[in-house]
Structures are given as C-alpha cells and as structure tokens.
C-alpha cells in the first residue's frame, strides 16, 4: 500500500541508510514551502525530517571556509556575527527573507533546493562562490552552487563559503511590491574589494531576471578596476540596464527592471562603501 511514512534520523549516516532503502525520499526541513496551501504534497515514500540531525545545523569556521549546515534556519543566518562580518550580503538577504515567522522555520538548504527564481539567498551565495556539499546514494561530494541542480533523493548537507582574509565587501538588495514579506521582482548581490580606492574582484549576481540567478559580467567590467566616481557609476548603470535587456529582451517587465536594477545597484554599492544612496555621488544618473 502506498503511504507516506516519516523518518526522523539523527545523523547523516542514518540518512545515507535511508537513501539505499529504495523508496522515494522527501526531505523536509522547515516545511515553509511544502505546506503552502494548494501545493501538491508527497503522498507516498518516506518523509525525512532533517530537524533532528545536529550535523545539518549551525555555522562554523573550518580552515579556509565557513561551513553552514543546510538545515540552519534563515533567522540564524541573519543574526550570526561571523556571517555579518564575512559575508554581509548573505546576512542582509537572510534578514529580509520572508517574515520573522518564515525565517524562524525556513532553512538555507531549502531555499537553495526549492530554487525559486526570486530566492533571496541565492545571489549572495553565487557572488561568494559557494560550494554545496551534496549527498545521495552514491555518497557525498562538493559542487559549485552555479552547477547545482535539484533532484529527488539528493540532499544538500552543507554550504561552504570561501573565507579569504581580509573579507571582501558585499551587499544585497531586493525589490518587491512592498518592503518586506514580498516576493522579489528583482534582487541583486555584489561582492568586491577595494585597493587604494579602486574596485577590484567585483562580482555581481542578479535574481528574478531568468529562471536562475545571473552573473552580470558586463556590469562587473564597467565598474571593475575603477574608482567610485559619477562617471564610473554612469557606465555601471548603463551596463546593468544592458544586462537586463539581454536577459529578458521580450518580457513586459523589462522596461521597469532595466531602470530599477540601477537603483538596486546603487543601493548596494552605497551600502558597501559606507555611503548613503542619497550621496551626490549617485545623483548623476538620476
């Protein structure tokens, strides 16, 4: 008889054992996506609760990287002092993700695995070159986040972030129909370093301009290697708009997004460089 049974493993080894069981596995962490009214819920197989596995939860610094257990809640990410110092883009994205009730339940692994086009944690993870620790019945391995494809029976167990010293600057901003508890119509993460005032190692990733996050290399090139100046920002703004034109040439939202992305880009740069977005530096393209 087809029935959904529940397993509450207490270790990764126990999960591995379930993976060789042969029945379909449905992993559940916070449940904030699975339980939404109207969505199809699994009816048979094993519902694997990830909430009891200590190894899946928590943030730690391990050698040259930061390891985030996949079942770490978004609320934990938002309040973690290490992340706030090392990858503020992720802290900010976490702090603005859903509402407090969602953040207390939703997990970073779930946000990645559900892979909604507007998922707010993805752009910060992409700019940081995060790698995912994946486990399936073949064992465990690391994949770059950009190469990750969700598939049944495959579990993200941890997220590994490079942890260079000194930490780069990073930031995140999103736009939805209201300020909070809103599905992003556009989001943007940036990461960079400054060398003698020059912007270097710039990485920019936008969400909600395609099915997956997009690296914005034109915009990186427009600003990379330059000093922050009205002229550089204008080139940057044009490049951001061009990126949107390329990504969604036929969408009706293009006209709005090609301008809105400039606002987000300026907001993030302002935050990373300690300016207000109202600083005259950013007035040029207005």
């Amino acid at each position: 008889m087809n029935m959904l049974t529940v397993a509450r493993p207490r270790s990764l080894d126990a999960i591995s054992a379930l993976m060789s069981d042969g029945r379909p596995l449905h992993f559940i962490a916070g449940g904030t996506d699975m339980l939404i009214a109207g969505r199809l819920r699994p009816k048979d197989g094993i519902l694997v609760d990830l909430g009891q596995v200590a190894e899946l939860s928590g943030i730690s610094v391990v050698g040259q990287h930061i390891r985030i257990g996949a079942a770490t809640t978004v609320a934990r990410l938002a309040e973690d002092p290490v992340l706030a110092a090392r990858l503020p883009a992720l802290s900010q994205a976490a702090a603005e993700c859903g509402a407090v009730q969602i953040r207390n339940r939703a997990t970073i692994g779930g946000n990645i695995a559900e892979a909604a086009p507007a998922a707010d944690l993805l752009p910060p993870l992409w700019v940081a070159d995060a790698r995912l620790e994946i486990r399936d019945h073949d064992g465990s391995r690391l994949v770059a986040i950009a190469d990750y494809i969700a598939s049944p029976g495959r579990l993200i167990t941890a997220i590994l972030l490079p942890d260079p010293d000194p930490a780069p600057k990073s930031g995140f901003a999103k736009l939805g129909s209201r300020r909070e508890l809103t599905i992003s119509k556009l989001n943007l993460a940036m990461l960079m370093r400054q060398e003698g005032g020059r912007i270097v190692d710039l990485r920019i990733v936008a969400g909600a301009i395609g099915p997956r996050p997009q690296r914005l290399k034109l915009a990186e090139a427009a600003l990379g290697g330059r000093f922050l100046s009205p002229k550089a920002l204008q080139l940057f703004a044009k490049a951001l708009s061009d990126e949107v034109d390329t990504a969604i040439p036929t969408r009706s939202s293009r006209v709005w997004k090609r301008r809105a992305i400039v606002g987000l880009g300026y907001d993030v740069i302002a935050a990373m460089t300690g300016h207000s977005p109202r600083h005259p530096l950013f007035a040029g393209a207005a």
Partner: protein, 158 residues
C-alpha cells in the same frame, strides 16, 4: 502518526497525518481554536504561535516537528485563569483590536518580539509585524500597544 506535543506547559498525545500542519492539529485535534487560519500560505500571520519562544506560522509547520518543543498559543498567555497578560491588556486598552481575527496571531508575534528584544523601537516593531496582516487598524494602535507594553515591562524590571 502518533507524537507528543507540549502546549502551554501541558503534554498531549496526538494522532495526525504526517504533513498535517500544526494549526490543524492545535485547532481540530486539541481544540485550541484561539489561533486563526487566514490564508494557509504563511502570508497573513493569523496562525502565529511560539515554538520555543520564537514566532512561527502554525499553518506551515508540520505538527510532528513540534514534538519535543515548547508550544505557546494565545490560550497560554494569560497571567492566570481568566486573566489577560500585559500585552493582551495593552492591545485592548489602546484600541489595537477591531474585528479580532488577526489579533491572536498579532499578539503572539508581539510576544515573540518582546521576548527576543525587550526594548524595540518603532521600526523594529514594524519589522517584527511584517508577517501579520491586519485589515482593520492600519497597525498604528498595534505598534503603540507593543511599545506601551515594552515600556511597562521595562519599568517593572528596572
């Protein structure tokens, strides 16, 4: 499946479907109908309860996952049998209640905030309420009720 839930300090054995949300478990199986269901998609906040002191949507929390955790519902807030707690009294006194349907969830979100941040400013209060929809009050009096209660708790503890 069968599991134990500790709600408002009392433990009960519950039999429920694996993906039955905590909201249904509390309302239909335990008769705690103080929490309301407004959307069942984590957008209105009417079903907010505290799980180990932190606000969550009961509609998006599988009931079995609350096993072993401390669940507080609106019924568990009062200062004693038949008595309201400070935050509840503040809501009534400053006019933060109108139709009352969002109120239990709103009060639980407020209680969760005050446990985590005893002295929130206006922006922090509004941030903490982002997940609770009220169609009656414009939130103004709700923000005031929470600020009033925070001030009162801080006076008591000072």
């Amino acid at each position: 499946m069968k599991f134990n839930l500790t709600v408002n300090g009392r433990t009960a054995v519950v039999e429920a479907e694996p993906l039955e949300p905590l909201s249904t478990v509390l309302r239909d199986r335990l008769g705690l109908r103080g929490l309301k269901e407004g959307c069942c998609e984590g957008e209105c906040g009417a079903c907010t309860v505290l799980l180990d002191g932190a606000p969550v949507h009961a509609c998006l929390t599988p009931g079995f996952q609350a096993e072993g955790r401390d669940i507080t519902t609106i019924e568990g807030l009062g200062d004693g049998p038949g008595l309201l707690s400070g935050i509840q009294r503040a809501f009534v006194e400053v006019g933060a209640v109108q139709c009352g349907y969002c109120t239990p969830g709103m009060v639980m979100a407020a209680e969760g905030l005050l446990r985590a941040n005893p002295d929130p400013d206006d922006a922090e209060i509004r941030h903490a309420l982002a997940g609770n929809i009220c169609r009656c009050t414009g939130y103004d009096s709700i923000v005031r009720a929470i600020a009033t209660e925070a001030a009162s708790r801080n006076r008591v503890s000072a």
